[in-house]
């Protein structure tokens, strides 16, 4: 037993500390890649235990990586240099729901969807809904400023966080709240991917469930015309609460897995949701349908029941999982372009994957200009890996050329840190580092994430 292990056990008890390689293996990866084992993993029960872990880490000179559900797609929760992984599996309670003021206080290990489930009977919900919402934790959502289909209208995680409690680099508890005077520290902590502190409690905004909801499915001959329809709808000043596109590859996989009723023969499917007052539903749907038809929509279907709406969404959110049917491995890219550039960008993605002879599935938050090409490959074939890496990089560079960004909602993590240097100048990055220096002078929180290193290292993830 290492000194580190002994000290952690002394502080947290043996039932909350893992130090054996077979126990640590589960903490060595997230949904992106496998990496090195941590020196120890801990599962604290409360904030006091988190403060003890941070102090022990400081005294032993060990890095700390906070971990939610491990669904991250960029290696953000992967320890790169041993250290302590802090799992929030036990800190998953709802601490308070204030229905009158539409707020909730939760622990970071709470699963995203569980909050909306707990508040539905009060007519409230938590809006950001990443596809992983059935399994991903709110702490992880905070770290990556997670998005989701409904961010089109409701905004991303940062727009819904009203306060945070975190443990700082000295092991002290700090609270920040949007109504406090002073700098917006919660705004900086959200999306900082665990590099500034360990969040231990979260105050979130809840929203009123809409009076009426309508979900429609339109089909198109190809992704570009579906993208054009989305551009036109947004350009005309109509903002539904979700505008999602799936291409034929994805629809095929999704239908095989979910049998939700998406037409399998269409080049692209547009899934859209409108919500609001019942009085407005017909007019809103008609306005969108008009643009869809003008852009060549082949069919239009309105979901008839809540069960059908739920199934259509479950299938859409399960798209990445369903893709396992098509290839042994996939690499999901996450990047964003201004909305008007979407049709051209999709055209370029098509050219890029053809050049590299890779099969692609496109499923994306079209209304936000947020692409998710899934590059399909077989890990056992070195040529495939090389082609995927090259195509992925080219897609990112193209996004930047179109005035976009390298991550819309998955984060930078370990995977994309070199890409950040393509997007930002050394001065921009040095300014971000000033913030890092203040919050974490010893660079103990989640090292090797976000900021570019001198050497690049790109890996790909396994679907299985």
């Amino acid at each position: 037993m290492s000194v580190l292990g002994e000290r952690l056990i002394q502080a947290l008890g043996a039932e909350s500390v893992y130090t054996e390689p077979e126990d640590l293996a589960v903490y060595a990866f997230d949904a992106y890649s496998e990496d090195r084992l941590p020196s120890a993993a801990v599962v604290p029960k409360d904030v006091r235990e988190v403060t003890q872990v941070v102090r022990i880490a400081a005294e032993c000179g060990e890095p700390i990586v906070a971990r939610g559900a491990g669904t991250g797609l960029c290696g953000g929760a992967v320890p790169t240099h041993g250290g302590i992984v802090v799992s929030f599996a036990r800190m998953n309670r709802i601490l308070e729901i204030d229905t009158r003021n539409r707020r909730a206080k939760v622990e970071p290990g709470l699963i995203n969807l569980d909050l909306s489930r707990a508040t539905a009977s009060d007519g409230l919900f938590y809006a950001p809904d990443p596809a992983s919402q059935k399994v991903s934790s709110l702490g992880g959502n905070i770290a990556t400023n997670a998005g989701g289909p409904h961010c089109l209208s409701y905004g991303t995680t940062t727009n819904h966080v009203i306060g945070l409690e975190y443990v700082d680099h000295r092991g002290e508890v700090v609270t920040v709240h949007q109504d406090d005077p002073g700098y917006d520290l919660a705004g900086v902590l959200v999306g900082s991917e665990g590099t500034l502190g360990i969040v231990t409690s979260i105050d979130l905004r809840l929203m009123r469930l809409p009076e009426a909801v309508r979900v429609c499915v339109a089909t198109f001959g190809d992704v570009e015309s579906a993208s054009e329809a989305v551009s036109q709808v947004i350009g005309a000043g109509i903002v539904p609460i979700a505008l999602e596109i799936m291409d034929k590859v994805i629809t095929g996989a999704v239908e095989a897995a979910f049998k939700a009723g998406y037409p399998k023969d269409a080049g692209a499917v547009l899934l859209l949701e409108i919500a609001g007052l019942a009085d407005d539903m017909d007019a809103s749907e008609a306005a969108i349908a008009k643009f869809a038809r003008a852009c060549g929509a082949l069919s239009w279907h309105t979901a008839r029941s809540q069960a059908e709406r739920d199934l259509l969404w479950a299938a859409r959110k399960g798209a990445a999982g369903a893709i396992g049917r098509l290839a042994p491995n996939y690499y999901i890219q996450d990047c964003v372009v201004p909305r008007t550039k979407l049709p051209a960008m999709m055209h370029r993605v098509d050219e890029i994957v053809r050049d590299h002879q890779i099969q692609v599935g496109n499923v994306f938050h079209a209304g936000d200009g947020n692409l998710h090409p899934l590059l399909l490959f077989d890990r056992s074939r070195p040529r495939d890996i090389q082609a995927v890496v090259e195509a992925g990089s080219e897609i990112l560079r193209t996004c930047i050329d179109y005035g976009g960004t390298v991550s819309g909602e998955h984060g930078i993590g370990y995977e994309k840190r070199e890409s950040l240097a393509l997007l930002f100048s050394p001065d921009d990055l040095a300014t971000m580092r000033r913030v890092r220096d203040v919050f974490d002078p010893a660079q103990r929180f989640n090292p090797d994430k976000i900021f570019p290193s001198s050497a690049s290292c790109v890996e790909v993830r396994a679907a299985s």
Binding site: N159, Y183, G235, D279
Partner: protein
């Protein structure tokens, strides 16, 4: 030719803070010129206070010293705007009014809801941390911001975010500059989300007779069609374009389709009617102007005789907090005008004294009244003032728990305290 254009005759009145004029006014014409100017000032030890339209200079303490006012008014370009993207990139010195007119051509808007929009700049609105009454619906200004360019004290020009609506690429530093009152850097450019203008915008205004206020507020908070703004107003008669009843007035904004607004109006009439409010006026034509003049009240000062504070809180207890403020100042000789934001929970409290007291008595009375108000609402911060604070009243009140981190950030971004020294909380 100098990159900076010093004004021949500084219009110092616009730049005065608590009666103190800057040593000089500089008006850099582009982002790099701002950065160069800051670097020079930093080296020379000159304090720089960034100033836009000067409408929110009543936020924050006076600077410890004030050699340079950096006007952003020449940074008024629209850098990027394709309305189909629903985003816009503008110079910090563009006024909110100018922004509205650019966006209005495409029936879009950015709901910043600032007072004196014709003068208020985008940069100033963001830096001063302005919060308007429609934010429960549309988000705070920080939620509408997707990217910034900022000049730091050492002359660094730093970008954060971008021109897309979803972006997780490095730290979200744009949020850090919002509400920093120019103490970390000078925002030179801001990229914002725009929104399509709803088909209709309607205000309903009702005068509240004796004994109707609490019921009216409660009923409005339970409406099935939510207003985008809900304000309970008592006072500010010299600014408002409508009459108040014995217990003030309730102003609601509704936006959406014509059908939705008609439905909302029926609900409001019924909700207010059952609270004993006899008449609810509808304003369609001129609704935007009426709303704008209501916003002006937030920072309307009585020359030499008023201090306005804002206390943020929860919507549910807003009315009680207002009542507590009223009780607090009752023993003093000061009077109180208030706006209670029923959706966001703000209490805006303008403490003032009538014209009979002499200047010395005015100062003493206001000082006592602010202290009494803060005994009940310790979160209250100064939003506007008609006379200098002069060290007797701190603009910020209670320090937040994270003040230590804030001080460390200031030291890392502006180690020589060049930017607006002393304007922020805790002496930052």
């Amino acid at each position: 030719m100098s990159k900076f254009v010093p004004r021949a005759k500084p219009r110092t009145s616009v730049y005065d803070i608590d009666g103190r004029a800057p040593g000089r006014v500089l008006e850099p014409g582009d982002d790099q010129a701002v950065a160069d100017m800051l670097r020079a000032a930093d080296a020379a030890g000159d304090a720089v206070v960034p100033v836009g339209g000067g409408t929110l200079l009543g936020v924050g303490n006076p600077p410890r010293h004030y050699e340079i006012a950096l006007s952003t008014l020449r940074l008024a370009a629209v850098h990027v705007y394709d309305h189909r993207d629903l985003t816009i990139g503008v110079g910090a010195g563009l006024t909110v009014g100018q922004l509205a007119s650019v966006l209005g051509k495409h029936r879009q808007f950015v709901p910043l809801d600032v007072p004196r929009a014709a003068n208020a700049t985008i940069g100033g609105t963001l830096a001063a941390g302005w919060l308007g009454p429609r934010r429960a619906t549309y988000g705070r200004p920080r939620d509408l911001l997707i990217g910034t360019t900022t000049a730091l004290a050492d002359g660094t020009l730093a970008h954060a975010g971008g021109m897309v609506v979803k972006n997780v690429s490095g730290y979200d530093l744009s949020r850090l500059y919002v509400s920093s009152l120019g103490t970390l850097g000078v925002i030179t450019r801001a990229n914002l989300k725009t929104l399509p203008m709803p088909a209709a915008f309607r205000l309903t205004i009702a005068r509240l007779p004796e004994g109707t206020r609490t019921r009216a507020a409660t009923n409005v908070q339970g409406l099935d069609v939510e207003p985008t703004a809900a304000l309970l107003i008592d006072g500010f008669r010299e600014v408002l374009p409508f009459e108040l009843g014995a217990e003030g007035a309730i102003l609601l904004a509704f936006e959406g389709s014509a059908v939705a607004i008609e439905r909302a109006t029926r609900s409001v009439r019924s909700a207010l009617g059952s609270a004993g409010v006899p008449e609810t006026r509808i304003i369609d034509t001129g609704a935007h102007e009426t709303f704008a003049r209501t916003l002006d009240a937030y920072i309307a000062s009585v020359a030499g005789r008023s201090i306005t504070l804002r206390a943020l809180g929860l919507p549910d207890g807003a009315l009680k907090r207002e009542a507590a403020a009223r009780e607090g100042i009752a023993p003093t000789a000061a009077l109180l005008d208030t706006i209670v934001d029923l959706r966001s929970g703000d209490v805006i409290a303008r403490v003032f004294v009538d014209g009979k007291l002499d200047q010395l008595a005015v100062r003493g009375t206001l000082s006592d009244a602010v202290a009494a108000l803060r005994a009940r609402l310790p979160e209250a911060t100064v939003l506007a003032r008609g006379l200098p604070l002069e060290g007797e009243i701190d603009a910020w009140g209670t320090l937040p728990p994270a003040i230590g981190v804030m001080r460390d950030l200031k030291a890392r971004f502006d180690p020589r305290a060049t930017l607006a020294p002393g304007r922020f909380l805790g002496g930052i």
